[in-house]
Structures are given as C-alpha cells and as structure tokens.
C-alpha cells in the first residue's frame, strides 16, 4: 500500500502471511507487516525550497517485521529446501553396508527440534538525507535497531546424547548501529570533477538470550572445541577457546617448580568476532575523458582466531617459537602461588620452563598449541581495495570508424595493500575458515591461500 500527499509526504506499508509446510503444523503460519514514512522537507517547506545552501533534505523512518524459515539448503548441487527435516533419518550406507544382500541402517547424527519455529526479525530505522550546495555535498545518515527471535542455527551437541548436531531456534539477538555516507565534490568544472567521500558504519550486535538447555551455540568450531559461538550477553559471534588459568589481575599462573602454566578445562570467551567500526574512503577524479578512482577500507574493533598458528608452531616455522631462541625461558608476565599465603601470588622472575624447544618441548605441546588465546589477535586492518583508471575514447576519434559508437579502456588493480594489526602475524582477517555460508566468522586457517593482488584491464566497445 502506498500513499503520497502533495509530493512530499509518503507512507508505504506491506503485510504478508506465509504458510511453510516444512515445519510442524502448529508452527507453519506467520504474519509480518512493515511500514515506512518519508518526508521531503525541501518540497514541503517553501523556505527550504528556495534555499541556496540546502538542495535536498528528506527525513525517513520505518518499522518492519520479517519472517523466514531457515531450514536446509537452497543452493549447491542437490538443494533440498529443508524438506522433511523434522523426522530423524536412518542411513543404509554406514560401516560398509550393504554386504551382499544384507542391509544395515544407522541412526543419523543430526537432530532437528520438533518445535522449530520461523525466524522473526523486528526492526526500526530512522534517518535523513541531506544534500548541500547544489548537490556538491551529498550525505545520508541512518540509525537502525533490529531484534531477531528464534534464529535457526545448526549447533553441535555432546556425542553422549547419541547425536552430533542439533538444529534449533536460539533465543534472541539484537543489532543496532548507525550508517553515515558523505561525499563532497570540491571541484566541478567543464573539464574537472573531483569527488571524495566515504561511508562509516557502526555496528553493535549482541545475543540477548539462548534457550535454557544450552549454554551457548557453536556456529563453527574446530575439533578441539575452539571456534565461533553465540553466547548470551556477548556480541554475535564471539570467539571461544582455551586460555591459561590467570590470577584476578590477569597474570598467567605458573607452577612454582616447572614454570609451566595450566590450560583452562573448559572454553572461555576470548573476544568479539564482529567488527564494530567499518569505514571506507573513496575518491574519484575525472578530467575530460580520463577517470581515476580509488577505494580504501578500514575495519576495526574485533578479534580473529588464527588456527594456522598452531600448525606453524608445531613445525617450528612460527615466529613465536623463536622469540626466546629456543632456549629455556621464563613465561612472560607470570606469577606463581604464594606458598605461605593462600590466594596471594608472587611475580615470577626466577622459575623458567626447562624445555624451550619443540619436539616434546614447550612449543609443540598442548600447553602452547592447545591454548586458543595464544593465537587470537586483533582483526583490525586498512586495505587499499581498488585503484582504477579509465579512458573514454572521444567521439571525434570514433567517428572515423563507422561502426563503433563508443569505446572505453580501463585498467584496475584490486587488493593492493593490506595493513594489519601489530599482533596479527598471520593472514588477512577477512578470510573465514567456516566457509561462505556460515555465521561462524572470526576464524582463519590453513585452508585459505595467502592474499593475492589482482590486476586487470578492460576494453569495452559499443557498436
């Protein structure tokens, strides 16, 4: 439904009800409406209409509710669209079966919660668009806040349940933030056009709650349990893994005799994997038929777990293994328990670890490689994403050929430079070991090839 009033006030609304047959009958139907309102101030208020400074001003706001059923895959070679997922299946091909005519079945390892519901996201947003100086300055700002209930995730469960994974609804996640875009054109003449600007996004998302029977949900994890998780009260997603046992001020507690620390027995939260701040800066310059553009990007405020670090340390090629020259060393920033006073700790300046080497020594042992926090680094980066240069062949030249109406030659280079955080010794934090269809971001590993630069050239001809 769309209503417009005098060309400056618009109201737009929708409503929709879905019945999805892949869920249980009582959960199948869900209704979701939305509405948004926009007010173009420069059309409505005559003072603004005649203003030389403000060329366009629009206020907007909206509220929406969206639902979907996230079950099964609709991509890949054999999409099943989530059909028949609610009934546990048995498979005929385990352990070499069938043997001749003897058939044998096994119960499959995925449980699907029978009371699976659709995901419902409710959100509102508000913002304004402001253009100044005859569109020489273009900007828009939007605040948004959304809450999603009953997100469907595939989470791992302990094998002692008899199964390996459970598809269920989670509690609630929320996301809020602000997006700002601004571009300014300082020069605009017949020959020159220079525009610089950027956009900035601030995102704060959090898991408000998960169900009572699960402490957290794993989105993507390694065999030792470290990985990307949804944890109630933390950002979505958060990296969880093993850490050293520390004293209340954060120093690592070591044994008074061996100098060795202890690994925690369960996983702990190690940092948010969701970038809080994203900034991109772009510039474009046009001179007659030449055009040049460039794009920088910054992302910050998050962490990444570099699982390749464990393999580098095992092989002895990791930078960390050589920091103490492979000799006996004192664990940095460590304390040991005061034998005379319970609960007190003494700074460790004397007790060193005997074997500072690999191959049965510290660096290859689980006390180093199994401690996830050793390889969690800041994921902040600056990237020079793209530089492009193009030339439009002028019509005067083209008229000589009867057929060609237009031609453009351009060269571009992508992913030219990456500047990483100081503690990130490993790789591009934009990689994701979980794959491109998983929510479990914040993990990189050995499966990704080192980052590459791309160079290309394009010729386009219009006949």
């Amino acid at each position: 439904m769309r209503i417009g009033y005098k060309g400056f006030l618009f109201l737009h609304g929708t409503g929709r009800n879905d019945w999805v047959s892949i869920l249980a009958p009582k959960n199948r139907s869900f209704f979701y409406p939305s509405a948004d309102l926009s007010f173009i101030a420069t059309e409505a208020i005559s003072l603004l209409k005649e203003s030389h400074t403000i060329s366009y001003l629009k206020f907007r706001g909206g509220w929406s509710k969206v639902g979907q059923v996230n079950l099964g895959n609709s991509t890949g070679t054999t999409p099943d669209y989530g059909a028949y997922y609610l009934d546990p299946t048995i498979s005929p091909n385990a352990n070499g079966f069938p043997y001749g005519s003897l058939a044998g079945y096994t119960v499959d390892n995925t449980l699907v919660s029978k009371s699976l519901k659709p995901e419902i996201t409710k959100g509102y947003e508000a913002g304004f668009d402001l253009n100044l100086f005859k569109d020489r300055f273009v900007s828009n700002i939007t605040w948004y806040s959304t809450k999603t209930n009953n997100q469907t995730v595939n989470t791992s469960v302990t094998n002692s349940t008899g199964f390996a994974s459970l598809r269920t609804n989670t509690g609630q996640t929320q996301s809020q933030g602000i997006e700002v875009t601004a571009h300014v054109t300082p020069f605009r003449t017949a020959d020159w056009n220079v525009t610089v600007g950027g956009n900035y996004t601030y995102l704060d998302n959090k898991v408000n709650s998960i169900s009572a029977s699960l402490p957290y949900l794993s989105l993507s994890q390694y065999t030792n349990g470290a990985g990307s998780y949804a944890i109630a009260g933390y950002a979505f997603p958060t990296i969880q893994g093993y850490d050293y046992i520390r004293d209340p001020s954060g120093h690592v507690i070591v044994d008074h005799n061996t100098g060795l620390p202890t690994k925690t027995s369960t996983i702990v939260a190690l940092g948010s994997a969701q970038a809080k701040n994203r900034l991109s800066l772009d510039a474009s310059v046009t001179f007659r038929h030449f055009h040049f553009s460039t794009l920088f990007e910054y992302r910050g405020g998050y962490k990444v777990y570099n699982s390749m670090g464990t393999e580098l340390d095992w092989a002895g090629t990791g930078y960390r293994t050589a920091v103490y020259n492979r000799k006996s060393f004192i664990f940095p920033n460590s304390v040991y328990a005061d034998p005379n006073k319970a609960g007190a700790y003494i700074k460790n300046t004397t007790v060193s670890i005997a074997n500072g080497n690999g191959n049965n020594g510290f660096w290859t042992d689980d006390i180093n490689r199994g401690v996830t926090s050793n390889y969690v680094t800041s994921g902040n980066f600056w990237k020079l994403r793209e530089v492009a240069f193009s030339y439009d062949v002028p019509k005067s030249v083209l008229q000589k050929t009867k057929a060609i109406k237009g031609a453009t030659i351009s060269v571009q280079a992508r992913n030219l430079f990456v500047w990483l955080a100081k503690d990130n010794l490993y790789t591009d934090p934009e990689y994701s070991d979980a794959g491109n269809d998983s929510n479990g971001i914040g993990l990189t590993g050995l499966s990704e090839t080192p980052p590459s630069r791309f160079y290309g050239a394009t010729i386009s001809i219009v006949f």
């Binding site: 008899g162 199964f163 459970l166 093993y242």
Partner: protein, 524 residues
C-alpha cells in the same frame, strides 16, 4: 446455478481433503526412525562395534606396550611423551556413543514388542553393556543414565564409574532374562535373529555365554571397589569360542576387516599405516629373552625371530621400518591385491573381527578361581586359555584351524621348564598365579584387543615392568621420553575427556583431570 454448485462442490472437496494433502512431512526419500525396525539396524550396529573396538585396540596397543614407533616417521608427540591433549584418542568417545545410540535405538524399538523381539533386545543390551564398559575403562566417570536421550537431555550429567559398573551388571542380568523368556515362548511369535546376527548367527546360548563373560570381567575388575547386586551367573556358562564379528568382510572399499584395513593393506592393495612396529618388550615374550615361544611367535610375527622391533620413544635413523602389510601379517604373499588367507593376527581382509577371545574368557575364569569369585580349577583354566590363544592364531579367515594347538602348547610349556609365567604349578601364592594369568593374557591379546591389556596392566601392574634410569626395552614398555613426573613405571594413567565435552557440556564434565595422576576407579 450449476456453476455455483460446481464451485461449492469444489470448495467442499478441497476443504475436506486439504488437511491430508498438506500433511506432507513424511519423508519419501530416506528411511526415518518411524519406519525403522530392529532387523534393519542390528547388522550395522554389530559391525559398527567392530570398528569401535578397532579404534580402542589401536589406543590400547600403543599405550599398553605392544607397539613402538617405526623408522622413517616422526612427530609422534604425545604418543611417546604421554602428555595428552584433550584431542588425543578422542575418537574413542565419539565412535562409542555413536554406536551405542544405535543399540539404544534397537532397545527402544523392541521394548513395545516383547517378547517377540526378546532376542534383539537381549543382544542389544549385552552389546550396550560391552560398549559402555569400553568407555568407563578409558574415561572413568561418563554420562550413562542421562546419555543417549537426544534432545531431551542435551547436557547429560556424568555418573560415577562405580555405579555404572553395577548398572552394567544389572543390565546384563536383564538381557539374559529377556533371552530366557523368549526362549521359553512356544507359540512361534518370537522373531529369531538369523542373518542379522553377524556374530553368533542367532545362537542365543552363545549370547548368554557372552553376557556371563562380560559380567565376569566387570566383577573381576570391580570387586572390592563397588558392590554388585547379583554375582551369580546363568547356567549357560562362559565363552569357550571367540566372539568374531563378520558381516561378510571382503576386499572392497569400506568393507575390509577393520584391523586389516588399518594395519595391513588398503582395498586397492596399497599400504596401510606403517608408522608402528612391534615393541621390544612384547617381543621378549616370544624370542627367549623372557619366554621362549617359537611356534606362537612364528604365528604372530612376520620374519620371526628376525622381526624388526623398537623401544617406544627411541627415535633414530636406524629404527626398523614397517614393511608393507606390517609385521603383524605373516603371509608370504606380500602383494597387496592378493595378500591374506593367513594365520596370525592380520589374517586377511575377509577375516572376522574379534571383540572377545575365548582365551580372555578362560583367563578371567582362572583369575576368578584364584580369588574365590567363582569355583573352578585355576590351573586347568589357565592352560585352556593358552590353548585357546594358539587356537585363535592358528585359524585361517574361514575359521579352519591349521596346526595342532594342544600339542604345541605342551611343547611351549616344556620349553620353559622353570618359568612360572608358563607353567602354572610353579607359581607359588596368589600373586604369582595372578601374574602368570595376566601375563599370558597380555600375550594372548597382542595387537588384538590392546585396550583390555592396557586396562589389566593398570589394574594389576602385570606384566611386571621396571623403569631404570636408562630404561631397558625388555624390562619396560614405557617410552624413553615419557613426561610422567611421579609414577615409578613412567606410564600415563588415563586419557583426557575429548574437547567436545569441555565445549558442549562444560558444567558437567569433570575438571582437573591429569593424564599422569587421575586413576580409573579400579586402577592401582
């Protein structure tokens, strides 16, 4: 009017059958639990247990001293340092619970249809007890009463190991009762296990013997540490034949005998794992260093007595390399595409997989007789155990015995005339008798059920080991680079809980478990 009535009719028809047509969530593509029957699951789950025990055998054989690192391989890490990470041997846990879920499913499917499915339910309960004992002996406290309940119990609590042992003995009693009840039914409603029983082919008396023997093992291990409700045994008695799983193993992708597939040859004829060779310690029980056992040695090791052996932890360029097919395959045909049809430990891709040997049954009975748990002639049972071991090793994949076990055992005992580990009557006092029994059991289970040998060593301290400052490979099987700080035998005490437990069941998993000090409840 006619048009209207047609429309009305259409709407009525749609309305009535709408619900049925829209109820389309029964899966036509795959079988589901609602269509499952015990007959469909039983063959697979029994075969699955062969793979589970194969995993445990590798773990027990490596920790319990049957194997050592081979030449040409490095990076043994925790296998020789014993400083286990939670991810080491974690497949024991995963494979066990996955397999137990299928047994539980057979039990659940049979429960409403008793006594018709009494045989299936009884056999599944026996295997469930067997499977849980494997877990308890490796991990001590584990989820038991709240396990295998799927979404109803996503974070099961851990049950005390002593209570689980008592519970497993009761479970075996229930299983035997169900089988007896079903055997007493005369109106033909009981469904027999035929081809689905890939172990005993439906011979329920053998199942009862198997149940009795597992219960005997529980009692022998647990007496003094826990109380059992009922310590009597069904009149069916104990096993006198090996328990072999064979659904029709053959040299085909994913269908080979699991031990052959692991250590012998791949189905393509290519090499299997070649990073392990026999340990000098176990070899000393055949080549005369500790015991002279020529005939069984020849039936166990390739190129005996010139088999390559090593001391665990000793890494050097001179270490013997593992030949294709490994030292545990004695056949003369070394071409992978036709190897097999042999006596010994790795008999061939089509051989049955043993999950309990008759030898183990006899040795359990012998020790129980020495300790007064059952009545019996300890010496006769001891000798029967050794004969049963020779008998198993002399069997070809088709089950026929090539050689004369009884006569060869007589020669064996004559070759070691003053050794009480071979001649039971020379053992003076209960502790030497038990040492003889456990040491012979150690030899009998060589690279077959290594997990049981590792369990028995931790329970009894036999075979006896001494770890000197420079460890002698004949006196100990512990690694030369063991990081065990406190125990004099320099061996680990247990493996750790898998990392999935610390991740997905963090409130229940026991904390502060050490591979060097935490004991299984029956261990010394």
């Amino acid at each position: 009017m006619k048009k209207l009535s047609i429309i009305l009719m259409g709407m009525i028809l749609l309305g009535s059958s709408c619900k049925k047509y829209l109820d389309i969530n029964t899966n036509p593509n795959t079988a589901t639990l609602t269509t499952a029957t015990p007959e469909l699951i039983m063959p697979q789950v029994l075969t699955g247990m062969a793979n589970v025990v194969n995993t445990y055998n590798s773990y027990g054989s490596q920790l319990g001293g049957y194997g050592a690192n081979a030449g040409g391989y490095g990076g043994f890490g925790t296998a020789i340092s014993y400083n286990f990470a939670s991810s080491d041997y974690q497949n024991n846990w995963t494979a066990s619970y996955d397999n137990l879920e299928d047994f539980q499913t057979v039990i659940n499917l049979s429960a409403p249809k008793m006594p018709a499915y009494g045989y299936f339910s009884g056999a599944a309960k026996i295997m469930k007890a067997y499977g849980f004992q494997l877990l308890v002996d490796a991990y001590n406290n584990i989820p038991y009463s709240e396990a295998l309940q799927g979404a109803d119990k996503l974070t099961p609590v851990y049950t005390d190991a002593t209570k689980i042992y008592a519970g497993l003995a009761s479970l075996l009693d229930t299983a035997i009762k169900e089988i007896n009840t079903a055997q007493g039914v005369t109106n033909g409603t009981v469904i027999p296990m035929t081809t689905q029983d890939v172990i005993f082919k439906g011979d329920m008396n053998k199942w009862k013997q198997f149940a009795n023997t597992i219960k005997l093992r529980l009692i022998v291990r647990g007496t003094g540490k826990t109380t059992f409700a009922n310590t009597t045994f069904d009149p069916a008695g104990f096993l006198s034949t090996d328990v072999l799983i064979n659904p029709g193993f053959t040299r085909d992708n994913g269908r080979q005998n699991p031990a052959w597939n692991n250590w012998g040859y791949a189905y393509t004829g290519g090499d299997a794992t070649k990073s392990w060779v026999p340990s000098t310690f176990i070899f000393g029980f055949y080549d005369g260093h500790k015991i002279l056992d020529t005939l069984r040695g020849k039936a166990t090791y390739y190129q005996f007595p010139n088999t390559g052996t090593n001391q665990l932890g000793h890494e050097s360029v001179d270490n013997p390399k593992c030949p294709p097919g490994s030292y545990w395959y004695i056949g003369t045909t070394r071409a992978g595409t036709s190897a097999g049809n042999s006596k010994g430990i790795l008999k061939g891709p089509n051989a049955g997989f043993p999950i309990m040997l008759a030898a183990e049954s006899y040795f359990l009975q012998s020790e129980a007789a020495v300790r007064g748990i059952v009545n019996g002639d300890a010496k006769a049972l001891f000798n029967s155990g050794i004969v049963a071991s020779y008998n198993y090793l002399y069997q070809l994949p088709d089950g026929s015995v090539s050689g004369n076990p009884t006569a060869d055992v007589t020669k064996y005992q004559a070759d070691n005339p003053s050794n009480y580990l071979v001649n039971f009557s020379l053992a003076s006092g209960a502790s030497q008798q038990v040492e003889a029994i456990i040491t012979q059991k150690y030899i009998a289970l060589n690279w077959i059920n290594g997990q049981e040998s590792w369990n028995e060593y931790r329970r009894t301290g036999y075979p006896a080991t001494t770890y000197a400052a420079v460890p002698d490979p004949h006196q100990t099987f512990a690694s030369t680079v063991s990081e065990q700080p406190s125990r004099p035998d320099k061996l680990p005490t247990r493996i750790l809980y898998p990392p999935t437990e610390g991740s997905y069941n963090p409130t229940n998993v026991p904390k502060n478990i050490s591979p060097f000090t935490s004991l299984i409840f029956w261990a010394k």
